[in-house]
């Protein structure tokens, strides 16, 4: 794919900064975020440097907290991966939260009835069930998007509270704990529990599963024709369709895979941490997944780094709260600021990039994507071009 001369190569070169500056953007975003969040820390009459130390370094100073960081990273590895897959395709799935909850419901339901099966079968069933449930929850917005061009941001977002209500309904209805009467589901069977990786730690197999899922996602996105089609669609749906990519199928596929990955995240939390469905299962893992995906540059290895970083931050936020008397909500402040700074920086970079290529800004990027897609269509996959209403104007 390399070595071609002509305008394509020139555009490639101009695109190159994207490759190296993504880690740069992430580091700069973290630095700027810490500068901004020094203000609330100072308001709390704490030393910002001591606070950052508590936030970032102190969780790494003991074995227990180091493992807790990974425990905290596990669910957002799933949601971060899910969001990154969808965003990469230009499908704005804000519904990872709800998809995760559906996966959790499925896991709790299956986990209660598989007591007689061998663990490997039970766990496979739960993971499959969770993935299906998450995908099913993602299906409706995706269909509405490709068939009727209904904005998936609104539909996926609004399905999140619905999923939470579903959880509450289950917990107050059929699954209310018969023994304690608490709104908690009965405990799942012992064989349905994800085994712990290290003794006396909460770190469980779900962490490894997350790494495997991310590994597969990375391979598919980076090394397969399907992945290239997905990325091309994300860069320019028009160009891709012009190049013969079945954009509808790509979008549907991205949405469903995204939902499935988030659903497995729900399985992992139920089978690895809570062992039952609870109302407080997710403190916004789906939304944190957006932060993870953006901070990781929608790039799978970046997602791992970002998830571990935010896991570190979460463990640090609770201990910094205790150690320095700072309200632990600072964790949310840092997350929100980080997300805003990251998207701001990404936008800045894109503006610079657009200016550095040919005049016509966004169109340049589109044409690059179109070329990429066309190249792909020729090289790898004879997907038939088709006329379809499922893609929107860029910027709509």
């Amino acid at each position: 794919m390399t070595g071609q001369a002509g305008p394509m190569a020139a555009v490639r070169r101009s695109l190159r900064p994207t490759r190296w500056s993504t880690p740069g953007v992430a580091v700069a975003a973290v630095a700027i975020t810490f500068a901004l969040t020094a203000v609330p820390i100072l308001l709390a009459e704490a030393n910002p440097f001591a606070a950052y130390y508590e936030f970032l370094v102190s969780p790494l100073t003991s074995d227990f907290t180091r493992l807790e960081v990974l425990v905290g990273a596990t669910p957002i590895l799933f949601t971060g991966c899910a969001v990154a897959i969808a965003f990469k395709a230009g499908y704005w799935n804000i519904g990872a939260e709800g998809q995760l909850l559906l996966g959790a419901i499925a896991a709790a339901g299956i986990g209660q009835v598989v007591g007689d099966l061998p663990p490997i079968v039970a766990l496979t069933l739960m993971i499959a069930g969770g993935a299906l449930a998450g995908a099913a929850w993602a299906l409706l917005p995706a269909l509405l998007r490709v068939r009727f061009d209904i904005d998936e941001v609104v539909t996926t977002l609004l399905l999140n509270p619905v999923a939470l209500l579903l959880v509450t309904g289950m917990l107050n209805g059929p699954w209310r704990d018969p023994v304690s009467g608490f709104p908690e589901s009965p405990r799942i069977a012992a064989v349905a529990e994800l085994p712990h990786l290290i003794e006396r730690s909460r770190l469980h197999l779900g962490f490894l599963i997350a790494l495997v899922v991310i590994g597969i996602a990375w391979y598919v996105l980076a090394r397969t024709p399907a992945g290239l089609r997905l990325r091309a669609t994300g860069l320019s749906p028009h160009g891709s369709r012009f190049a013969g990519v079945n954009v509808t199928r790509v979008l549907l596929g991205a949405a469903l895979v995204s939902g499935a990955v988030a659903g497995i995240g729900g399985v992992s939390e139920v089978a690895g941490i809570q062992f039952r469905l609870t109302g407080g299962l997710s403190p916004g893992f789906g939304y944190t997944g957006i932060v993870v995906a953006m901070l990781g540059g929608l790039w799978m290895p970046g997602v791992i780094l970002a998830a571990v970083f935010l896991g570190d931050l979460a463990v640090g936020a609770s201990s910094a709260g205790r150690a320095l008397g700072i309200p632990s909500q600072l964790g949310a402040v840092v997350q929100g600021t980080l997300l805003l700074v990251t998207v701001g920086l990404l936008a800045l970079r894109r503006n610079r990039l657009a200016r550095s290529t040919t005049p016509g800004t966004g169109a340049a990027v589109d044409s690059v994507a179109a070329d990429l897609a066309q190249e792909l269509a020729v090289v790898a996959d004879p997907a038939e071009p088709e006329d379809q209403p499922g893609t929107r104007e860029p910027g709509a």
């Binding site: 609330p40 308001l43 709390a44 704005w92 804000i94 904005d151 941001v153 609104v154 977002l157 916004g284 939304y287 957006i290 932060v291 953006m294 309200p327 909500q329 600072l330 964790g331 949310a332 402040v333 840092v334 997350q335 929100g336 600021t337 980080l338 997300l339 805003l340 998207v343 701001g344 990404l346 936008a347 800045l348 894109r350 503006n351």
Partner: protein
Amino acid sequence: MNFFVDLLAATLRNATPLVYGTVGETYTERAGVLNLGIEGTMYAGAFSGFAVAYATGSPLLGLLAAILTGVLAGAIMALLTVTLGANQHVSGIGLTIGLIGVSEFLNRLLFSGQEAKRITPFQALSTALAATVGNGNIGGVATAILLGGPGAVFWMWVCATVGMATKYAEATLGVHYRVRRETGELASGPMYYISRGIPNARLGRALALMFAFFGAATAMFGTGNMAQSNTVARTFVEASRTIFKLDVPLWVPGLFITVLVGMVLLGGIKRIAGTAEKLVPTMIVIYVVSALAYIAMNLDHMPHVFSLIFSDAFTPSAAVGGFVGATMAQGIQAGVSRGVLSNEAGLGSAPIAHGIANVKHPAEQGTVGVFEVFTDTIVVCSMTALVILSSGLWTEAAYQGASGDLTSAAMSTSIPFASAIVALSSFLFGFSTLIGWCYYVEKCFEYLFGSRAIVPYRVVFTILILVGSVTTVRVVWALGTLLNGFMAFPNLIGLAFLGGTVAKLTKDYFSGEGKYNAVPDAPGAGTV
């Protein structure tokens, strides 16, 4: 019909916030911006509106602040999505996460613990009782008998009867005239009711300053500090002598309590103080039960003891054994001064704690004050007095000049391990009293110098504990009595001036009118 009216009303009520959100969202979507940040914007508006309205007392300013906050949130969104052209969905989600976080963060910072700072009436009683039931009840009573004879006990009771009225007035006024300091904490005490209550501002200010100054001095050198550690050290030495047959120098227990108090005051280890305060009520019960057991065992002595108390009250006490005798004046003086030392009525210290209690009406806390004096003097002090008098040890030469050890030795005559009980009670009472007084005097310092200069003061306070533990009894208590007088003087003048106010508040409370209900920010409680 009624059902539909209710339904409509509920619909409108629930729709109101939605209308605001919807109008805002429609407006931005018309301009092509999908603003997912409105959830966070509403949070931030709610917080800033509340905070400003709370601080200024003006809902209009609160509304203005909320509007400005919303504009600011919109500006951030616009900067990101319009100026920079960043992704609208992600920016909106980020704005919501961030603004909810900031609102809850600041809400915690500014308003949490506020309720905790206004303590319940029971907590105020515990704090005041922990500070009040101190070594005055153990060592102080013994000293009163040694100085003034058995008649001193009678005068102590008289003093307590008057003291209940005084304490009622102090606690009531404390709540009525409390203020909110610039730190956001409630503050109260005689300096506030004197300076705010006395019509002549210059006189009020002078008396308040005098109280704050001598209040601080009392805690440093008087009953709040040295007298406490002195008694604690002596009861410890006595206990180790009777139980372990071991002579311990005074500075050993002195150093122990100094280090412990130092850990709380300088090291900030609040758990120790919290534990001690929880133990005090239990300790009072154990102490009183032990004393009652002693009295039950020596019931046949009681008629003689009571007749001694009443007869000596109006006649000079004869010299018996090592007891050198006392005039009636000495009896009155000793009884009253020890009584005041013990129940602190009129001294002005307790209203500093009572004043910040979370009560509906000032007079409510006044009744708690009455109960405090009753528990302290009529119950606990009387027990000590009966035990000492019935043991007869107060006439022995060996105990002249020692106070804590007299109580301990007296109770040991009938109760096994009594000296341990006395030593432990004395220790806990002394410890909680030291902590309580440290708080009182920080409030005096705060009034004098503002909310700074706390640490150097605490260092000095801690060192003086050690000094007090090894000083002679008479010197310590004499100094305490003198300083108490200087502290009580401005307070009593203030109470005399404010008698009318107390009567007014009392009438208001018992008639159920509640015109003067204690609200932290009612007109009665301005900011300094």
